[in-house]
């Protein structure tokens, strides 16, 4: 089992024929993901990576039965692409693009929600169900199959965490990179219950960072609803106030969104909070009694 995506998930790629879209689609296909086609306006009817190219998402969905879209279009067109996917009946959009304007994404997410489409990202590595389906830009081989669910705002830190978990002789069910922008799609609070309900997932790792309140909301949710052990690391304990740390959303503003307050809230909710990022794997193993 897994959450959201598996070996049967049919995926199309928006921005299929671009440089990034092409490279990462190839990698996903190699991993075993069912990429069934792609969308590039004006290139409909062509074939790319042995798969059909469509002018619109609607045509792609009608022809292939895809339910998930992986989005690689440039930042200025990202919101449009997301809304097109929602309009065409896509169930989950995985938005990889970095640098989309916040206001655009605000409208796009509102429309997606109205249409019942889930979103992941933007500015994220994507989602991977180990050894079944990779929809994103992460190096697949790091995610060995196992029983740990992973939710993270950061890309490379997700790889680090998964690597540590695997070194403990454990593995991953599904890992979701939710992104570090001010407005993102699925977050801890929506993903935690999916892992709670997934019979294969026995423990959950959540990686957060400074800025915003998502981790605090997650802590409240965990307290009431999650019975599986949760291990958390919050990046940016040493970050100065008022400085943006790489991610658009990683900023302590007005004294709000510090690592300290998030760690305290999570610890109070019974989460195993690690101070050192090197202790994630060990702590998961310990929580599972291994």
């Amino acid at each position: 089992m897994s959450i959201l995506v598996n070996k049967d998930t049919k995926v199309i790629v928006q921005g299929f024929t671009g440089k990034e879209g092409t490279f990462h689609s190839e990698q996903c296909i190699e991993y075993g993901t069912q990429i069934v086609g792609g969308v590039t306006p004006g290139k409909g009817g062509q074939t790319h990576l042995d798969r059909p190219v469509f002018n619109t998402v609607k045509e792609a969905v009608d022809a292939t039965g895809a339910t998930v879209s992986m989005i690689f279009v440039p930042p200025a067109f990202t919101a449009d692409a997301v809304m097109e996917a929602a309009d065409a009946g896509i169930e989950l959009a995985v938005i990889i693009t970095e640098g989309a304007p916040v206001k655009d994404m605000m409208y796009a997410k509102m429309y997606a929600t109205k249409k019942g489409m889930k979103t992941i990202g933007p500015n994220c590595p994507g989602i991977i169900t180990a050894e079944e389906c990779k929809i994103g830009i992460m190096p697949g081989f790091i995610f060995k199959k196992g029983n740990v669910g992973l939710i993270s705002k950061s890309g490379t830190l997700t790889y680090e965490a998964s690597n540590q978990v695997v070194k403990e002789g454990l593995g991953i069910t599904t890992a979701v990179g939710i992104g570090g922008d001010p407005i993102i799609g699925l977050s801890y609070k929506q993903l935690l219950p999916l892992f709670e309900a997934d019979p294969e997932t026995e423990a959950i790792v959540m990686i957060g960072e400074i800025g915003g309140t998502l981790e605090i909301e997650a802590a409240e949710f965990i307290k009431e609803n999650i019975t599986k052990p949760v291990v958390a690391f919050i990046a940016g304990q040493t970050a100065p106030k008022g400085k943006r740390m790489g991610h658009a959303g990683a900023i302590i503003s007005g004294g709000q969104g510090t690592a300290q307050e998030k760690m305290e809230a999570l610890a109070a909710a019974g989460v195993h909070v690690v101070k050192s990022p090197a202790d994630i794997g060990k702590t998961v193993a310990k929580a599972l009694g291994k």
């Binding site: 490379t156 407005i183 960072e209 007005g254 090197a278």
Partner: protein
């Protein structure tokens, strides 16, 4: 991106958000001319820097004659202003804003930001004008009235009434206030702002609302839509090393410590700073060389880190994914030929082809380069090296 008060007020004027009349000046005589044109017998001379707390630091002063305007402007231009928002090094004043004196009857606070939990812009008002809003939020949160505005319906009368009644405004004051707030909402949305702060918003003797101060910040990702705003960028307000880093697609933030960090990915870069602290050291910087590090970005990274004379060791922490570690190892070797690296460099490469990478570094046999096996090992070695104990 942030802009100056005088620039924010230009934008306000264009949108019908009332502000006092004023003009910018770069010299004393220029300041005098601006004051003369404004007329009257009371002016305010305001230092233009990207930081709050100017008043207390001596960056906002009243002048009662043209001579005084000129004298104050001359004193302010060139001085370094230290406020609670500038850090101890302060900020150099390069221009002043001369504004007509206002008849202040009452001071309020009015601001807008993106509320990340409702994912909507939120307008905040308070009767505690002139005070730091963070302080008000901490001590008397009930004095802040917040209204989230769903952008699909836009600013409605009820939003304005909620704020106006919350502030305890009288019947006559409500209409001009709502007009003010509605115009402000339009500025925020039209310009892809991510922050507007008016502190204080004043009510004059004649019942007008005026933005006495104005701060604006913008979404960097949206600047391509607004060339007029992008043009307002004042590079002298930013850290030159951060500007240099951005040119190469790197993200750098200078910190106080002595262990330099070079990492791929923002989250891992923050985590690397944290583990250095955890191991008893102090990070010298945040540096994200991007998900796919290459020889050029690594070389540039070394250059940026070494501009900071405090740096005693460098921790290179790269998790290779799609980009293979052996390529990065070669990049590091190449970089050390391009840039003279005179401090110990602790290198931790993990992920794709990590073993080949370790072999490459070992065979290169450069005395400054010390391999590390994992995150904790690398951090320990980097901290020890900075203390001269390795």
């Amino acid at each position: 991106m942030n802009i100056h008060e005088y620039q924010a007020k230009e934008i306000f004027r264009a949108y019908g958000v009332p502000v006092p009349r004023g003009g910018v000046a770069f010299t004393g005589p220029e300041a005098r001319r601006v004051a003369e044109e404004l007329g009257g017998n009371l002016w305010v001379v305001k230092a233009q820097i990207h930081a709050g707390g100017r008043g207390k630091a001596g960056g906002v002063k009243l002048a009662r004659s043209l001579d005084e305007v000129e004298k104050l402007a001359e004193e302010m231009i060139g001085m370094t202003l230290v406020t609670h928002q500038t850090g101890p090094e302060g900020k150099k004043v390069e221009k002043v804003y001369i504004e007509e004196g206002a008849d202040i009857q009452k001071e309020y606070y009015l601001g807008m930001v993106l509320d990340r939990s409702t994912e909507m812009p939120v307008m905040m008002a308070s009767t505690e004008g002139g005070m730091e809003i963070e302080e008000v939020a901490a001590k008397t949160p009930e004095k802040i009235i917040k209204v989230a505005i769903d952008p699909t319906i836009g600013f409605q009368g009820f939003h304005g009434r909620k704020l106006a009644f919350g502030l305890g405004l009288s019947k006559e004051e409500i209409r001009p206030f709502i007009k003010f707030a509605e115009a402000l909402y339009k500025v925020y949305m039209d310009k892809d702002a991510n922050m507007i702060e008016i502190n204080p918003l004043i009510k004059t003797g004649s019942g007008e609302f005026l933005a006495l101060d104005a701060k604006m910040g913008f979404d960097d990702n949206a600047l391509y839509k607004h060339p007029d705003i992008a043009e307002m960028r004042d590079l002298s307000e930013e850290d030159p090393v951060e500007i240099e880093a951005a040119k190469y697609g790197l993200s750098y933030v200078n910190l106080e410590g002595n262990v330099g960090c070079m990492v791929n990915g923002a989250g891992l870069a923050m985590a690397t700073m944290d583990i250095i602290k955890h191991e008893g050291g102090e990070p010298a910087n945040f540096l994200d060389v991007g998900g796919g590090a290459n020889p050029d970005t690594v070389a540039k990274g070394f250059e940026l880190i070494l501009q900071d004379e405090n740096v005693k060791s460098i921790f290179v922490n790269i998790f290779g994914g799609i980009v293979r570690c052996d390529r990065i190892a070669n990049g590091i070797l190449q970089a050390t030929q391009q840039v003279e690296v005179n401090v110990p460099v602790i290198v931790r490469l993990d992920g794709t082809n990590a073993e080949e990478a370790a072999e490459i570094l070992k065979n290169a046999n450069i005395k400054n380069i010390i391999p590390a096996t994992d995150l904790a090992d690398g951090a320990k070695k980097a901290v020890a090296a900075a203390k001269g104990e390795l």
